[in-house]
Symmetry: C2
Subunit: 224 residues, 2 copies
Amino acid sequence: MAETESFRNLAEEKQERIYRAAVQEFSACGYSNASMNNLVKEAGISKGSLFKYFGTKLDLFDSVVNMAVRLVKTHLKRVRSETNGLPVEERIRGLLLAGFSFIDEHPQLARIYFRLLQSVDSPFGVKWQTSLHRESVDFLHGFLAEGKGRGEIHPDINLQQAAFILSGIMQQLMQAYYTEHVDSGLGLYRSSQEELESWVNTTLQMFFHGIGDSDDNRTGGEKK
Amino acid sequence: MAETESFRNLAEEKQERIYRAAVQEFSACGYSNASMNNLVKEAGISKGSLFKYFGTKLDLFDSVVNMAVRLVKTHLKRVRSETNGLPVEERIRGLLLAGFSFIDEHPQLARIYFRLLQSVDSPFGVKWQTSLHRESVDFLHGFLAEGKGRGEIHPDINLQQAAFILSGIMQQLMQAYYTEHVDSGLGLYRSSQEELESWVNTTLQMFFHGIGDSDDNRTGGEKK
DNA sequence: TCCTACATTGACCACCCGGTCATTTGTGAA
DNA sequence: TTCACAAATGACCGGGTGGTCAATGTAGGA
């Protein structure tokens, strides 16, 4: 566990104050550029205390990341259970919209989460990255597998690869929604709900039916 | 310009030695964690000299990034001209394979390039990111537009959005090829040429024909 | 009131950073 | 050989870092 006994014994208000400052600092600066001095000032506690609560910068970061990841997973699992029984396409639509709304509600945590997925900052980043990527692909794989079982997905499709591609597409959309320079003028960045839904529609359209003109010669494409 | 007169007057061997050390350091540590002290030691020159050649850490980084970006663009443009006249699908296949081979030939530069696309390290990262994302999407848009003109792409498809999605897919593949923890056990990471081509095939298959079972009810999906 | 056990503090530490500049070294002309 | 000039050097600077610890509160039982 990352935080010490003494942190858990703190008044809840103080714990939250510290967490809030940590989330703020890490989301703004990433791991290695985050400054414990700033953090301490922001939280209104002394440096000595902070290092009593969390032995190390890494411990604190680990704690914050754990929280962020737990929250993301909660959101996604809720979508999974709430869309149970619907067609795959609807379920993935739900995932995308849930992703956008998560960014709206927790922009800083989203920032930390995506940074973790992509950057190589933080010494132990790899530990998280590997498992998060795998879990993300597995999660999507579950959706697709069920859809395939119901005949909504072409039997020749390799689900692992499809899930992998889908995960890339989703990341691209999420990133553009909360990072202006990824959007690069396409109109996703902080766009309205209806524009968002339009993007989601066309994305699903492309993912399920492709962009090709429907001369549907599906061939090859099976791995090995 | 980033480098000073005195750098351009150096013996070519020395210039290369310095560039090589800089590329090494930046690709390994990112911008802000890169250490000029390490760099200087690696290059076998004195600190004073380095700061004569490049006034600032940022200037040096800018110079390195310029080189990396120029090289990437050269590779991509070669593919564009060499595949002129072929079907879109073939051209995009060419792009993907060229991407993989670029990573093989210049792994460190590829690392710097992708870091630039994704991370928010480096104070002026945004300047690069915005233009790189835009250019990348525009580049793909060019391919798709030509394909649409030849009837290889469904007329209802919004090319901007398709190019955006495609760029996400390509990034995902590239990342998995050179970063083990993104691959997360799928088998792309440093895989053989034939496995690579199999991945490219299925990816193209999905992008052009979708994953859905071919009950082809293409509807809606047009923006606004 | 005193004592004890514990929570809190911030001055302090060693280290590393990007950047400077007086000094040393190298070089070609006279 | 001497000299003038440019190139190269590395000790040094102010500042910021993660982390420590003796000193200082502070609350509760005797």
